[in-house]
Symmetry: C2
Subunit: 158 residues, 2 copies
């Protein structure tokens, strides 16, 4: 994967947290994703397609997901329910949407968000993709951003 593809997603994550949650994020590390490492407890997954195909995954600690949903919906959550799932999906959607606008040349379109729950779940990418994983800290708990995106072969003109 081209490393420059990941920057629009990092910028978009900072903007989404700042505008939606009034929460500052601190980038802690950037690495190639080890495919077998578990994500956090709640992952928002959005498919990307166009001149490149791939996925963006935002994986939240439970504490961060609860606090983020509570802030967006102005209430307090103590367990992961449908509202919390939708809030995580919506944050992933905002990040994918803003990054897509920055990566205009790829003409990306985005799928609906799915949210994966379950302690110890792992979101794996095809072995042909080398996704980049960025870890972040916030005052509410950690999250990771994973982006795997590969150019699609252009159809040969007839």
């Amino acid at each position: 994967m081209k490393a420059e593809y990941v920057n629009p997603f990092i910028t978009a994550a900072g903007q989404a947290f700042s505008t939606m949650l009034d929460c500052q994020i601190r980038r802690e590390g950037l690495s190639l994703k080890d495919n077998a490492s578990p994500s956090h407890e709640i992952s928002g997954v959005i498919g990307l397609s166009g001149r490149a195909a791939g996925t963006v995954v935002l994986s939240f600690s439970e504490s961060l997901a609860l606090k983020a949903a509570g802030t967006m919906l102005m209430t307090e959550y103590t367990e992961v329910n449908g509202d919390v799932i939708d809030a995580v999906g919506e944050l992933a959607n905002m990040v994918a949407g803003a990054a897509k606008a920055q990566l205009e040349e790829l003409q990306l379109s985005i799928s609906l968000p799915n949210v994966i729950t379950g302690k110890g779940h792992v979101v794996r990418f095809p072995s042909s993709v080398n996704p980049i994983c960025v870890t972040f800290a916030t005052d509410w708990g950690p999250f990771t951003l994973e982006v795997g995106l590969e150019p699609v072969a252009e159809p040969v003109p007839a």
Copy 2:
């Protein structure tokens, strides 16, 4: 979700299992997905976008995933490794690709497959979507097909 959107995925699953695995599938049930019910152990997830946006999920029991990968790669697997992950992703990709061709009017494009592992993981859809879940049996174990797909609002002409 329009129920007719799911039929091309059912047909595609039967074709993929028949041609790739020489394995017949038997449809057991069709229901609206209860969002909180766990999937099987290994789920292939592909995002869809175009005139509709959504996701297709193929969730395999471990026994079926091992046997399917072994048949595709002509070897024997006793644990879920990178080959098995890629085989599950490739089956999901074939199903999405064949269904996309049948749903021409939606002009779908498909993301790369992600594969989710972890006992008890749940793949959840946005609460605005009513995904349809189809359960299948095979001689190697069960799997489910989940499709959630919603039309995208057309941009208003300027």
